[in-house]
Symmetry: D2
Subunit: 436 residues, 4 copies
């Protein structure tokens, strides 16, 4: 028996609150889970700073990755197996790509990617193809296997069906995170009937398609996704924490660039500040390390770094107002000098933040950001794009919604012991004069 088809003597199970159990029978999957690069995902929260808003959201990318694996496992072994359109030899490739799709995520990815101009997808590729335990395991299947897995995750693979299982408008990744994030935050949005959706999935050469009889379950998934985005992912308080986190990283980088003398040498950050972290550097940076630095930076001499770290760790967040870029940009420009005058650095304490989502998009061939639409198979075997069949999806299709907020430190403005007049002027402009 080859390594690719080797089975464990006894199936291993992980108790999972979302899927009840995650089942592993393949030796390759078991070995991948045991690698240090995969175990590292235990130390990275799935939802970054969201736990500061929803205290239950402390689950890791490790759990999510197992969940995506389990969904794909059920699809290929319970639904696709034996059906026309499904090539059994793509099974292991699908399972590995599902398990490893988020491998390159670092701690608080969005903020890190923004400040240090990184791309977690490139690190996923690097881990799979580089000198790692994960690469060793995959290479034992076949010397080309790491490349194949990496291509599926990068969506450059010609195995379009497998790609669509992992990344499309309705894929195992999204289905797991919506259910999992709903479970851990405790919100009641985010539930949909995944069992029904899996049951109506059908393999085709180009992508996974869905039997018409399951359309309502798919609609429900899209509505859940819409609700989770606005209720959880773009929650203004989480975004406030994210803003502060970003500003900490930005400040630390600026200090480094200005040859600031850190009391505590930021060893783990140096290559990030320099803009060229190696894979090894990157893999060392988990959330524990980041939070460790934030703690010691509370004792740095730089007042801004110190204050921002204190805010983040002790959840003294910024407040916000709704912001309309069209009508209020002038006001924003006026605030900048006022902040300076009040002794509050606007580069770190006056932050515009925008969130934007497109809940579902139909097919716009050739257009930028083209997305594969969801296809239904009708009783007569024709295909039909979801938004043409579902009125509710049609109604929200292609409509991008954007939300702007302006964040500021209410506590500093409330304190009128210094710069009273300027602070009052600021509060007037922000429209919060009556509050503090």
């Amino acid at each position: 028996m080859s390594y690719a088809t080797e089975k464990l003597r006894e199936e291993k199970v992980f108790k999972d609150p979302v899927h009840r159990y995650v089942h592993v029978r393949d030796r390759v999957i078991w070995d991948l889970i045991g690698t240090k690069e995969f175990q590292r995902l235990r130390r990275i929260k799935q939802l970054g700073t969201t736990y500061l808003t929803f205290h239950g959201a402390e689950h890791s990318r490790f759990a999510h990755s197992l969940g995506v694996y389990e969904i794909v496992h059920r699809i290929v072994d319970d639904v696709f197996k034996g059906r026309t359109g499904w090539d059994e030899s793509d099974r292991l490739l699908s399972l590995c790509a599902a398990l490893l799709h988020d491998l390159g995520h670092g701690p608080f990815s969005h903020a890190f990617e923004k400040v240090f101009q990184l791309d977690h997808e490139q690190f996923t590729q690097a881990i799979i193809l580089g000198d790692t335990e994960v690469n060793q395991v995959l290479s034992m299947v076949d010397k080309d296997f790491p490349t194949k897995v990496a291509e599926v995750i990068a969506k450059t693979s010609d195995k379009k069906l497998v790609v669509s299982l992992i990344s499309s408008q309705i894929d195992a990744d999204r289905m797991d995170y919506l259910l999992r994030d709903a479970y851990y935050t405790g919100v009641s949005y985010g539930h949909f009937d995944i069992e029904r959706i899996m049951r109506v999935m059908r393999p085709t050469e180009e992508q996974v398609v869905f039997k018409k009889s399951g359309m309502h379950a798919v609609e429900d998934y899209i509505m859940s996704r819409y609700q989770m985005y606005w209720q959880v992912y773009f929650h203004p308080v989480s975004r406030s924490a994210e803003v502060i986190l970003t500003k900490i990283l930005q400040r630390a980088k600026v200090l480094y660039e200005n040859s600031y003398e850190f009391k505590h040498e930021p060893t783990h950050f140096l290559s990030f500040f320099q803009g060229k972290p190696t894979l090894e550097d990157y893999l060392k940076l988990d959330e524990a390390v980041v939070l460790y630095y934030f703690q010691v930076w509370q004792e740095e001499g730089d007042a801004i770094l110190k204050d921002l770290c204190y805010r983040f760790l002790n959840r003294h967040l910024f407040k916000y107002i709704e912001f309309d870029p069209a009508s209020q940009y002038k006001m924003f420009m006026e605030l900048i000098p006022l902040f300076k005058k009040a002794g509050i650095d606007p580069d770190y304490y006056l932050v515009l933040d925008s969130s934007s989502d497109l809940p579902y998009d139909f097919y716009r061939p050739g257009e930028e950001g083209e997305r594969l639409p969801i296809q239904l198979i009708m009783p007569n075997n024709d295909f039909r794009e979801l938004s043409r069949e579902s009125e509710i999806v049609e109604a929200i299709s292609g409509k991008r919604r954007t939300d702007h907020k302006l964040y500021y430190p209410a506590d500093l403005l409330r304190d009128e012991s210094t710069n009273q007049a300027t602070k009052r002027q600021i509060k007037q402009l922000l429209g919060v004069a009556h509050k503090y």
Copy 2:
């Protein structure tokens, strides 16, 4: 209006997966939650190393503390309010004690307490009574208030009813953690009808008692507790992680005592090694800091420290056999020199571990470890101790169950490239010769 009775303008709610919402209306409670000592509980997992066995168990002591508060809040405001036996002036005391009861927990408490001879309960006292933000808030209620809260948590208060709400054989603490740990691990044990239990609670001078009509719900709670202990809390794999963690701390301490030169100065640990951490030192030590050190210690020169840290972070745990102290102690004594001979230090790699629990105890006045029994109020208003009324509780009452396991590194024994004969002898003694 005094600070003690001040209400927030709008009730604040925390979305909580276990109780759906945690409601805060009291200014005191809101301010306590905002203190840095309380926020620090976000960085300490409720179940320590259990996440290495149940990957969902990543919830923090912050969430649990809010949950205990919410339960007491519902008991006093929805059930006790207006009843004979309940003194409304104990309300705020009860809420504060509930919220703060675990404040002194550090990261991975059990291992730290064992190796460094600490006591988290003493730190809870120290935080409440010392120079902290928590103390400042409590002192604003009344200058004696911190002491009163501390006494309830220490069980030295003469407010016996309030004490029994927080610590007894069926209290808000246990009820929250059983439900919460079941939710996050995903196990189906651990559920019981808390709403029913709260509804049948009645205040008396000595303790909370329970209407007879709710006896079955109480039975169910005791069975849940029993199951959670043996299925989750004493799970042999979690204990393996705990064993390794303990050995890491022990090794680091030994190295320090032997003036080992750490490549990376263990600043945060020094006062622990020296046996006298200050409150300030203690509060700085959260899980992020501990995991940060474990990561850098992977690069230390000491092979044992390095290996144990690698094992913990990458979940390369020890295996175990069931161990019967009566009949197998001799075998254990024989293994020690064999381990040495095989080049594996038995002080760190051959570990006996025992778990023990008493699911429910009736009243044994004067005996050591005396526990307040659960009292039922019968329809005729008599009190009756639970185990006299419930056959199922009677059956398990006072029966301590103990479980012993012997942990060892199977991977080192499997590798027969060195010390083959000795290792085979060890495996023979352990009864695992056929396995590797």
Copy 3:
């Protein structure tokens, strides 16, 4: 103490799967539940024939009525109490109207109302105002109280706020049935966060309004409602059972009108056939009685009545095709003579059935079918109609969706032992020739 304010010595609770517990403390409510007119609702299924499609949907109108009461109870006692805009003297009126709002429902209401031209709302009025146990209880509160309750249910009351609690586009009735029907059928649509919605409700003179911060929960409710309609209430198989039921009643009425001699005198139906059931007749007719007749009618001499009853009881339902009135009406007209030629009476065996729903409607003052829209209270205390604030609700607002199906007995057409040619012609027209 007056009867209106009398409390039970101990609160009574009903265990309820949807709301966990239904709590009763008011003597009036307890007495109403004990009346025979209310207990009769135990013998009437909430979802009529739906149990033939979703076998779990066997719950009664009794359970639903308790649920609506409980929701209103929580709103007025936990949310409204003490708020501006809420008049505590409307409390009992609200509770009674909630409990009794469906009192006039008979078995399989829709079919009975259609065939016998009845109106369950008129019977609700008649029970509340007539010579009944319910009327006796209500009259003990005050001699005008029955009328007041009846007016709220009839929506003619000038207590607009109370009316809107029971009947509006988001009321206690709908919230209970969506949650309850989802629970009993087992579908995962239909869940929404009722606790959140209740919490953001605010009383105004004209109607209940909702704080803007709860908008997403309201959106979720509207989506749930949409899904339940199309997935459960308009499920084509349930409609098939409904079609057969209607045809049974129609046939029995026709037979009676044609002086057919029933083997088993249909005593309970006589006044219905004659078009003038008294209140007493109406109250006797529960589902047990109807199903009893259907069973004995299986032994009648009339072949159509006998066959339809057999079909209903043993779930031998009609099949259906999608039907487009615009393009297929001619086909339908051609089928009628062909059915006759094949010996299958088209009056009973060829049935067009349509379902139609308007998921949400904004305000169209003066237009027919005008519905009170859902109003949000914005942070600045302005009101704003939901569809102007929610893009997702705006998208489906005012859009009526209609679905037509043509039902026929596939088994009779499959049997080609007689009228082969005609039956083949019919199947050709129906487009199902290839199936049988």
Copy 4:
């Protein structure tokens, strides 16, 4: 392809709240579900009169039978398939026996069996072996197949493994009803981890056994069973309804035997009164028919029959006191003449009722009521009886618990307009003098 192995073109699914979906692929199973004898189970409640205590408990034996089928289906197709000890040729036999095991249940079985001395198990045999649609379907598999299925259900089959799947101390029947009854009543007892239990089941020639690693899930099942018995099945209020139901049937029988002239001829009951219902008579008697008669009997001339029917339909139940046969039998004997003197017939209005349960029994070979114990397979492949391994099961093993109650009509005693002195004497004896 033979009928026994014929598959449906598309799998059929039933939405089920307990198992999410019930899946049917076998033509035989689908045809059995469509028979009129099986559809009849829709008109018989799983829990008889319990809906008068737990209003949610309105589910039918139809739903339960599908559930038992689904559990066995998952065990044999997901767990046993391909394992040593499992004979694939027993698959269809297992599925059919599971589906049909309760086929002979009539409405309110216990009361009917008691009064008319019937045995639903004999009717199950009669339906399977007699001239029925079920028999026709089973005979198409093989002419001996009906007998084989009947033998498994009667436990006389030599297929001991198959028998143990359907009837043992932990079988598919019990697992389904515990979960289902918990779901519909809404109680939180009754939940256990069925997925885990199924996963650790192993086939042996003699019976299903359980891997030791699943012991705690099995313990949890036994505790759930214990709780459900005392909390739901033996609930004193349900027993009150059962008492009244039994007395109705008894009264009607006595009247018939005394040639009472019924206003409404009790056609459906005649053969029951005569002690020899045919299979045809039996199958006609569903709950609708019984409730129909109870309604018309409310208008009979006999005061007792009329009153009891009124009580049952409108839930005017008897009250009860705890009764100790040893010390209170004399009191009971004194009550009888007092009831007569007060004009209340003690044969119908003074009723002793006992419930008794043995939560788990170890093996007592040769003893009466011998039950197959639950066997664990230890890691070394030895078998071990559950109560020897589980302390909690050992504690309750073999301990029968019995509960006696005395039921009486409190309302009649409360009314002191007649026989005041005697009624007061009765209330004195019952110990309820202070209440009314």
